[in-house]
């Protein structure tokens, strides 16, 4: 599903503040895998995610999605396969637009935005039903601007928006980092449910080791721009919290 071949990314190349964010990273992720990405700050996790999404173009190497070379494809074209939830709750939604309008755009992520009215009564009803499933009581606030909601509510809705249209790959970049523990719980529960329900290939960055233990079927640790550990299935399941603490020691 996702294949990275010898990806290298250097920021500010040739300048005093040159940073090597990724150093010859090769990685294959199969369809349906739920990969948890951990690593210290500056280890290259977010850059890796951005390279897959197309927000950052690699200095060298190539990116394949579905066996198709997408290395030079801009982010807005890769959205055909990729849905994202950002660390900043403001990043994934348009704050001044209503919840309904945000969902309308999400429903058209892979399609053309035409000159026809798409926010129809049936569409409204289907969005209301989906949002009611979150159990946050937002289904009666469809016309409220997104910006009036709390960070947790917005992240939960962003997750729901990512499955409004056909999605293969879900990229979660510390979706709960800015949230209080209770909202974080709601968001992660929603994520887990949707990933299972839609069988999404997922990359999930987190600094929360409990989440690391609880979610995913593959664990990758990044260090200094390279993959330091790659644990699958049973190896990941058997991992203890104390062991992980030591990785960062």
């Amino acid at each position: 599903m996702i294949e990275l071949r010898h990806i290298t990314k250097t920021f500010n190349r040739g300048e005093v503040n040159e940073v090597s964010a990724l150093d010859d990273v090769s990685l294959t992720i199969e369809a349906g895998e739920f990969v948890v990405l951990v690593g210290a700050n500056g280890s290259g996790k977010t850059t890796l995610l951005n390279v897959i999404a197309g927000a950052v173009l690699p200095s060298a190497g190539s990116v394949f999605l579905h066996g198709e070379d997408v290395t030079g494809l801009p982010e807005y074209k890769r959205s055909r396969w990729v849905a994202r939830v950002f660390q900043d709750p403001l990043g994934g939604t348009a704050p001044e637009l209503s919840i309904l309008d945000n969902f309308r755009l999400a429903a058209l992520r892979t399609r053309r935005k035409k000159l026809t009215i798409g926010v129809t009564e049936p569409f409204k009803a289907s969005v209301r039903e989906k949002i009611a499933g979150l159990g946050l009581g937002l289904e009666d606030k469809l016309h409220q601007p997104m910006g009036t909601l709390s960070g947790g509510q917005r992240q939960a809705l962003t997750l729901l928006m990512s499955v409004m249209d056909h999605t293969d790959i879900l990229l979660l970049d510390e979706p709960t980092a800015a949230l209080d523990p209770k909202s974080a719980e709601v968001v992660m529960e929603t994520a887990g449910r949707l990933i299972g329900q839609y069988n999404l290939t997922t990359l999930f960055i987190t600094h929360n080791l409990r989440e690391t233990q609880r979610f995913g079927n593959r664990l990758i640790q990044m260090a200094r721009g390279s993959i330091a550990r790659d644990l699958k299935g049973k190896e990941k399941k058997g991992l203890k919290l104390e062991e992980m603490y030591e990785w960062f020691g």
Partner: protein
């Protein structure tokens, strides 16, 4: 009475430009000042084509086309060359001055003895009522079209682009192309104001666009103040208030003139008015703190 009626009609004629500035300033958050050029461009094309005997509809079409083209130029300079939108607008606006002059062939073309939109749609005996109803009809059609566009899927994408570019990129929207399209629509609307005003005042002058962006800006700011004060969310109501802002602004200028302000001072009065609209709320807020 006729005095204020004239201000009202003037406001209606300039309201298309107000809608255009609303699109760039409030929807896309781009400070576009191509306006001065595209307004005169619209008026110039209108004058030349009308004097050559073209019927009204193709003239309006041509006006929209050249206005959109001016917007596309600014958009291309801004997005492709990554030049600041303000500078991109100044570049195109300045260049358009020469373009407009060569279209006109001289600095002024009178529109006397030609069929204008006001004379061809006349139904009342008095000229001023005809002007009023024609400009009103024109605006109702235009704002109706715009309101519909903004409510479509394309319109939602447009509104989102100015709101959160990271979101729209992730939603498969080409932000650059969307901005170019937005600037095209905005400047086409501005050119249509030139189309109306040229026929209303019965001439096109090369200097008629100087400072017109400030008139539009002031109008949109008045409209926007009303919108946020009343908490209006419906996009078509917002358009209505922007148009009301255009009329109010002309009324303010009319009152200034009626108080005996020298017409030569009108640009200064315009500047001071816009300054007051922008500055006063900030002064009040500072006092409260």
């Amino acid at each position: 009475m006729v005095f204020y009626l004239t201000a009202l009609i003037q406001g209606l004629c300039l309201a298309a430009m107000g809608l255009g500035i609303f699109i760039t300033m409030k929807i896309f958050r781009i400070p576009d000042i191509t306006t001065d050029g595209s307004y005169t461009l619209g008026a110039a094309v209108t004058a030349v084509l009308l004097t050559q005997g073209w019927p009204l509809l193709p003239v309006a079409g041509a006006t929209v086309l050249v206005g959109a083209l001016a917007g596309v130029m600014t958009g291309l300079v801004h997005t492709r060359l990554k030049i600041d939108a303000l500078l991109a607008g100044i570049l195109v606006m300045t260049g358009l001055y020469s373009v407009n002059l060569s279209i006109l062939g001289r600095s002024n073309i009178p529109l006397i003895d030609v069929e204008t939109i006001f004379s061809s749609l006349a139904v009342f005996g008095r000229q001023v009522y005809n002007e009023l109803w024609v400009s009103l009809l024109f605006l109702v059609v235009l704002s109706g079209l715009l309101a519909y566009t903004l409510r479509t899927d394309f319109g939602i994408a447009m509104r989102a682009t100015g709101n959160s570019e990271s979101m729209t990129r992730a939603m498969g929207i080409n932000n650059d192309r969307m901005k170019i399209t937005g600037l095209a629509i905005a400047n086409a609307l501005t050119a249509l104001s030139g189309f109306l005003v040229a026929q209303y005042q019965n001439f096109t002058d090369i200097n008629m666009g100087i400072g017109i962006v400030l008139v539009g800006l002031g109008s949109v700011l008045i409209g926007d103040a009303l919108i946020s004060w009343l908490g209006i969310r419906h996009i078509w109501l917002q358009l209505g208030f922007v148009m009301a802002g255009c009329i109010l602004f002309q009324m303010v200028l009319a009152v200034a003139l009626s108080l005996g302000v020298n017409p030569n001072m009108l640009k200064l009065v315009t500047s001071v008015c816009v300054l007051a609209i922008v500055g006063l709320p900030r002064l009040v807020r500072r006092k409260k703190l």
